[in-house]
């Protein structure tokens, strides 16, 4: 009974979406001059691949984006699938394997770039078709409330005195943002990254546990998952890693603290390699439309994401730059 209801809903929705797509196609053809496919209907059903499990960072960003596109009738229903494995390497491989697939998109980010290296995969992000970068997320240096570290300087001092003695924990495996950030930070303050004692925790939950129980001295992570602990004062932030301070977080940037480092985690959307330029432009136009909606701005705000939208060639350059930067950090660490 529940099933047939759902199916009915779906078909209603499908019809609505088809009409909406047709409208969009007509508008696009007559208006902005973007060359759409002949029937315009090929946009009606896209697939969005998510390279980690439900509830993870890419999942939240990818699903938020598809939800906005569906709700605003920019396209038909998305088929969202989670392809987990090797921190995104499996999904990346699948994207490359589906060369030329015109209906496939994939949400990815800095972590996937690193994972392809640490897992020794040939399916590099630079080999895919870049569509758009969507968001940025600052990393924060988290400490328990009663930590002896009051400022970044305290941390750096302790770190220089005994590089291995400061236990750094993060929610991502080697190559992920929480790992790359403390390594680049160590490098920036003159601590040998290979001596950093980095402990991997399986995501935000276990990392919170370790911080609250003072099992580690400092945690590196995006701050979205720690809102509650920051609000009730059980955790503090020493500094954030971006160019500007973060709204609602009472902490300086690294640069204000005299450390020459800007580090941001980011997420964006890729398409398989080998798709025609017209299809690529179509995808870009779709995400541009999505980016312009109020619903997306709201999603950014509720999730604490920083808007960082760039598309096409600009995104391509950024990807290549990131790819090289990650590779050199990992090489310094002897992980390649």
């Amino acid at each position: 009974m529940g099933l047939s209801g759902a199916r009915a809903r779906e078909s209603r929705r499908g019809r609505r979406a088809a009409i909406a797509t047709a409208l969009v196609a007509v508008l696009a053809l007559s208006g902005c001059g973007v060359t759409r496919g002949d029937d315009g209907g090929e946009n009606a059903r896209l697939r969005m691949m998510i390279p980690n499990s439900p509830g993870g960072g890419y999942d939240q960003t990818g699903r938020a984006a598809t939800r906005v596109m569906e709700a605003e009738d920019l396209t038909g229903r998305f088929e969202v699938s989670n392809v987990t494995g090797a921190s995104g390497t499996v999904a990346m491989q699948r994207l490359v394997n589906e060369r030329g697939a015109e209906d496939l998109l994939m949400t990815m980010g800095l972590g996937v770039v690193g994972a392809t290296y640490t897992n020794g995969s040939d399916a590099r992000v630079s080999g895919a078709t870049p569509i758009a970068q969507l968001i940025e997320e600052q990393e924060g240096l988290l400490v328990p409330a009663d930590s002896p570290f009051q400022t970044v300087d305290d941390l750096v001092e302790a770190w220089r005195a005994d590089p291995g003695g400061v236990r750094v924990g993060g929610g991502s495996s080697p190559g992920g943002p929480d790992h790359l950030f403390p390594m680049q930070l160590a490098d920036a303050v003159g601590v040998d990254p290979t001596e950093v004692n980095y402990i991997v925790y399986d995501g935000g939950g276990p990392l919170t546990t370790a911080l609250l129980g003072a099992k580690i001295d400092v945690g590196t992570s995006g701050l979205g998952e720690f809102e509650g602990q920051l609000a009730d004062g059980s955790l503090r932030v020493l500094a954030v890693s971006g160019e500007e301070r973060l709204d609602g977080v009472d902490a300086p940037t690294l640069q204000e603290s005299g450390i020459d480092l800007v580090f941001t985690n980011w997420r964006g959307v890729l398409a398989p390699p080998g798709i025609p330029d017209s299809v690529r432009d179509q995808h870009i136009a779709l995400l541009e439309e999505m980016h312009g909606t109020a619903a997306w701005q709201e999603a950014l705000e509720t999730n604490g994401w920083v808007d960082a939208f760039r598309t096409g060639d600009e995104f391509q350059e950024f990807l290549v730059d990131q790819d090289e930067r990650v590779a050199s950090t990992l090489e310094d660490l002897g992980l390649l």
Partner: protein, 508 residues
């Protein structure tokens, strides 16, 4: 108490009740299917629930969570195909019971046990969640390592009559658990990124249990007369009740604290409960391995109690300890709710409605599932070739839906062949499963403990809980040796071993 009653009246509004029913049904359904877990279901439903009130959505999620914990047991018992890793242990005795015509009793003790454990767990949750502060984060890697070592030592008591075969099976399990790159180094991954995260325990369990057995039955179908599964009585009798209530309570006692501990999980308590019941079974000990109701009642209570326990750190300090809890946390945050001590003050109505709805979900599960038990049991009277075809279909579907990878189906076939070989050569299955579950987690905690102490081994006994557990392990290991020195004690134990051995020979 008043707060709870208010919450109950909120939870029983027709709308919220409807969402509870949907949640429970959905949860049971995904629990039945191996591969699709409650975490994924809740994540998939997140967008749907943006249109309903936060309390309705949370009630539905709680229903899915509890339902999922329960649903996994149904296929474990009937088809030997565990739907969730936490119901793997249930399959051991539950499926044997089903084969001797006691499927209805196994399902009933699972349903009632889940209800009892879920209810007690929820009462404990109501009692401790508002007051519990930070005690759950005190335990660190050394304590968890000690706890898992304890569990691994306990395995030696389920190695079966031949210790050698038992250890072979355990070693196989530990080797399967080594696959992956969890330590940063790729081990046994054959350069295949699909193996980088290790092998899913559900795939292994379904393959060894269901596929292995289907092959075994197929291999003997023509040579042996068909054993007809007896029809059996539809309900539990007084003896079943007498044998079930204590395991239910003990299972709850294992499940709840492990659920509340950040690295406790749901598998470990089911496993400890099973071992305990086996030790305490007394006159029924011989039934273990052949369908002892205690072996279903205990673990099933344990996994449901752990689900309730999981909500303690989630509500008390906003700490998700399982994948499902993490998704529920994400859902709460998307509604602008921040779990933690302040949630009880800021949103008392919502919290108490959620807690009350857990009672409602539990009752619904019992009401829906208990009458179905005899009906489900009739499923087993399908002629065997069709039944096993169905089981294989389910197994393949389950393995595929874990990650929508053909590769997992390949693994299923591979481990299915292993399961067949293990039956052929009389290797016990349980030590392998325990090895797959415990090995990687044991290693993870050890690595973490040593990394935190920069390689100082003494850190392993730096926490009081760890020390206590090591003492318990020492007692467990040395106890039998000491007893053996006491004259007159070794007689009966040896005899029991011999009887077991004889029986096994007769069976094979």
């Amino acid at each position: 108490m008043d707060a709870l009653l208010t919450g109950l009246s909120m939870a029983l509004t027709p709308e919220n009740l409807l969402y509870a029913v949907i949640g429970v049904l959905l949860g049971t359904a995904v629990g039945v299917l191996p591969g699709i877990g409650p975490a994924m279901t809740v994540a998939l439903l997140l967008p749907v629930t943006y249109n309903v009130s936060p309390s309705a959505a949370l009630i539905m999620f709680a229903g899915i969570y509890y339902g999922g914990m329960y649903g996994g047991s149904t296929t474990s018992i009937l088809l030997n195909t565990p739907g969730e890793s936490s119901s793997v242990i249930t399959a051991l005795e539950g499926n044997k019971m089903a084969k001797t015509g006691r499927a209805a009793q196994a399902l009933a003790t699972a349903a009632i046990g889940s209800f009892v454990a879920g209810t007690i767990g929820t009462i404990l949750l109501v009692a401790v969640a508002p007051t519990v502060a930070d005690w759950v984060v005190v335990l660190g890697a050394p304590s968890y390592f000690a706890l898992m070592l304890l569990a691994l030592v306990a395995v030696t008591s389920v190695l079966g009559s031949s210790k050698l075969r038992g250890f072979i099976s355990l070693a196989l399990g530990l080797a399967i658990g080594l696959v992956g790159t969890s330590t940063g180094q790729a081990r046994l991954t054959l350069d295949n990124p699909l193996l980088a995260d290790g092998i899913d325990i559900v795939v292994v369990a379904v393959a060894i249990f269901a596929v292995g057995e289907a092959l075994w039955v197929a291999a003997h179908l023509r040579r042996r007369p068909l054993e007809i599964i007896p029809v059996g009585r539809p309900w539990m009798d007084r003896r079943d009740w007498r044998r079930s209530w204590a395991p239910w309570l003990r299972g709850t006692a294992f499940g709840f604290p492990f659920g509340a501990l950040p690295a406790g999980g749901a598998e470990l308590p089911t496993f400890l409960s099973y071992i305990t019941e086996r030790r305490l079974a007394g006159e029924h000990r011989a039934e273990f391995g052949k369908g002892a109701i205690e072996g279903v009642a205990g673990p099933e209570a344990a996994n449901n109690a752990s689900a309730a326990g999981t909500l303690v750190p989630l509500l008390a300090i906003g700490l998700p300890t399982t994948a499902t809890a993490a998704v529920i946390l994400a859902a709460m945050q998307s509604y602008g709710l921040q779990p933690g001590p302040q949630l009880f003050e800021a949103e008392p109505e919502l919290v108490w409605t959620l807690l009350a709805s857990l009672f409602v979900a539990n009752t619904l599960l019992l009401v829906i599932n208990l009458p179905l038990a005899p009906l489900w049991a009739k499923l087993l009277r399908i002629p065997r070739p069709y039944l096993y075809a169905g089981i294989l279909f389910f197994a393949v579907l389950g393995a595929y839906s874990v990650n929508f990878q053909r590769f997992d189906v390949l693994l299923l076939c591979l481990f299915g062949a292993l399961g067949f070989a293990m039956r052929r050569f009389g290797l016990p299955v349980l030590p392998l499963i325990v090895g797959v579950i415990l090995g990687p987690r044991l290693e993870e905690q050890l690595t973490q403990a040593l990394q935190l102490s920069q390689g100082d081994v003494s850190a392993l006994w730096s926490e009081p809980v760890a020390v206590i557990v090591y003492v318990v392990i020492a007692v467990l290991l040395l106890g039998p040796l000491v007893l053996r020195l006491v004259p007159g004690r070794q007689g009966p134990e040896r005899l029991e071993d011999e009887v077991e051995e004889l029986e096994e020979e007769v069976r094979s």
